[in-house]
């Protein structure tokens, strides 16, 4: 190793819990790639990392929270969003990011996703979509496209797949985007934009699962998936979200689909409550007691 390399430093490392690396992710899993974009977006904006919390549910993507050198909350399956909601409401100073997988956020946690978008809670939600339940061994998910094979659809899936951008758009999210793990720079820019916005922001990121999704469907390795993303992706910013369904072999519509202004939950709450809401500084009990006893 040359002396040059000894003196350089990957800024992403500052955002990782070094004592937790290497990750548990399989070779070629794209989750780590999305983390690079996320880390660069955070660093580029100079956000106060002390005031930044990351919340995950369960699954491969649910492990992201624990690798980030932030306040990390690895909650229960599907419940990252309601936990994050509580965290944000009880301390509005926090930047709260939910980072989790497709099964976690849209299936077991689907109801919470809908209602957080409806309430326009000030959260940024990153959903890494590998189109399958990976940590449990390759079972079909709500996002498994078309007639894909999985361990629970041994003759091919036959349930229609969920289109996440359409769902969260309909529910009221103020920002909706999709990229793939191939689009590292675009993803970084979109994340930075979303981090700067207030309200419920949702970013879906397609990511290879070579161990299950690719293997079960003879789609080659992770690299093949990334090359496939590159080939099939069509950037359509502002696209109607009902045109963004993901079908096997079809176009992957990517871009920033929704960017609208809507007042977030706490703004609406303050306005509606008006004089019924009282700012409440913490009680300065010790000082008060000392003052009284000395007087």
């Amino acid at each position: 190793m040359s002396s040059v390399e000894l003196h350089v430093h990957n800024p992403v490392e500052d955002l990782l819990r070094q004592d937790r690396i290497p990750t548990i992710w399989c070779p070629g899993c794209g989750i780590g790639t999305t983390v690079n974009s996320f880390a660069h977006a955070l660093l580029g904006l100079g956000i106060d990392l002390k005031k930044t919390s990351i919340v995950s549910g369960i699954g491969c993507s649910g492990r992201v929270s624990g690798y980030m050198n932030l306040d990390s909350f690895h909650t229960t399956h599907g419940r990252a969003i309601p936990f994050a909601t509580g965290l944000k409401l009880a301390n509005p100073e926090l930047n709260v990011i939910v980072y989790s997988g497709d099964g976690d956020l849209t299936s077991i946690g689907g109801n919470h996703l809908i209602h957080a978008a409806r309430r326009n809670i000030d959260l940024m939600v990153v959903c890494v979509n590998n189109m399958i339940y990976a940590m449990t061994g390759g079972q079909a998910a709500a996002t498994t496209p078309g007639t894909s094979m999985s361990t629970t659809t041994p003759y091919g899936a036959f349930e229609p797949e969920l289109n996440m951008p359409q769902l969260v758009d309909a529910a009221g999210a103020c920002f909706v985007a999709r990229w793939t793990a191939f689009h590292v720079k675009q993803l970084e820019r979109t994340m930075a934009k979303a981090l700067n916005k207030k309200g419920f922001r949702f970013i879906e990121v397609l990511s290879p699962c070579p161990t299950y999704y690719q293997r079960k469907n003879n789609l080659g390795d992770a690299l093949a998936a990334m090359v496939d993303y590159k080939k099939r992706s069509k950037i359509k910013n502002g696209c109607n979200t009902w045109e963004t369904a993901l079908l096997p072999g079809g176009d992957i519509i990517v871009g920033e689909f929704v960017d609208r202004e809507r007042e977030d939950y706490l703004t609406l709450m303050r306005r509606q409550l008006g004089s019924n809401y009282t700012e409440f500084p913490p009680q300065a009990e010790e000082e008060a007691e000392r003052c009284c006893s000395e007087c």
Binding site: R17, D71, T75, G86, A90
Partner: protein
Amino acid sequence: MHADPRCVLTGTHFINGDAACCEGALAAGARFAAGYPITPSTEIVERFAARAPKVGGLFIQMEDELASSIALQGMVWAGQKSFTVTSGPGYSLMMEHIGFAAITETPCVFVDVQRGGPSTGLPTLPAQGDMMQARFGSHGDYLTIALCPNSPQECFDLTIKAFNLAEKFRVPVMFMMDECVGHMTEKVVIPAADQIEVQPRRHASKPPSEFKLFEPGPDLVPEMAHAGEGYKVYVTGLTHDKRGYPLMNPQSQRELVTRLFDKIRRAADELTIIEAEGLDDADVVVVSYGITSRVAQRAIQMARDKGLKVGKLRLICVWPFPEKVIRDLAPKVKALVVPELNMGQVVLEVERCASGQCRVISVPHPGGTVHKPAEILAAIERGAR
């Protein structure tokens, strides 16, 4: 530390148990709550929704009880005191997050205003059928604390106690009301704030560089740091080490689960919260809790009027079960009579601790109303023979 006077409705009130529970939570320092409507518990958060914003707080009505029971834990890790309120079917949905609170040692209060079950069962009619669920409902091994009030006054007093115990031991505390206690209206005296002791959060005393989030103190309870304070906390429902990092092996599991048990077991004396009367020369002792203790009181009086020597043992803290009290009592009496508004739950614990040294007579009741005093009296008479 004393209660914040801005949150305490000092005075004499004529309110129901649900309202008193709400006032207790506010006095204890809770300014945030998450919940989902379910009878007969909803009045607690209806009142809280009106009261909390006046003191900078908030009630959020979540989309279901799963969401409520985890949102409240987000509020706690943001530095607040928080609770949720539910009844049977909702309580079942919350089980997952009672386990999460147990393993992450999140201090919080789950209020269950019990109604008849199973399933949708008997909305708005009383039962005490969730007592074993309060102890064993979430999967895996953990210990919690469960308090049982028998009056609106106790709904106030013991709600404060519930929050204080949650903070002291860093456990989810189950506040096991029932429909009768919740909807009963009586006089409730709320003292001045400086007469109310409040246990503050056991916050990290070391700087972030020296602090480990799950390093137990002398009483086996770790100190807590919150999001946004620079501690870079790592909170996971996985079995974890002292830093909070996942560490999934038999040794780590043994260390963590044993400590979660021991921090409660060690405090058995402090957590023996009972009301006892006439135990010394009793032939029969009626062991009861919650609303049933008030029916039992009448039965005990009827038995005494007949010349029987009957004692009263009311369990205010049901979990951890006051094992020593029953072990000491069993050899001295002929029988322990256990009426409860279920088909026989806490009686199993009484039998276990009595170890065959006296008769244990269950007086089951499937709920929907309370016992008739005569039913309990008959069991007392049977025990005295």
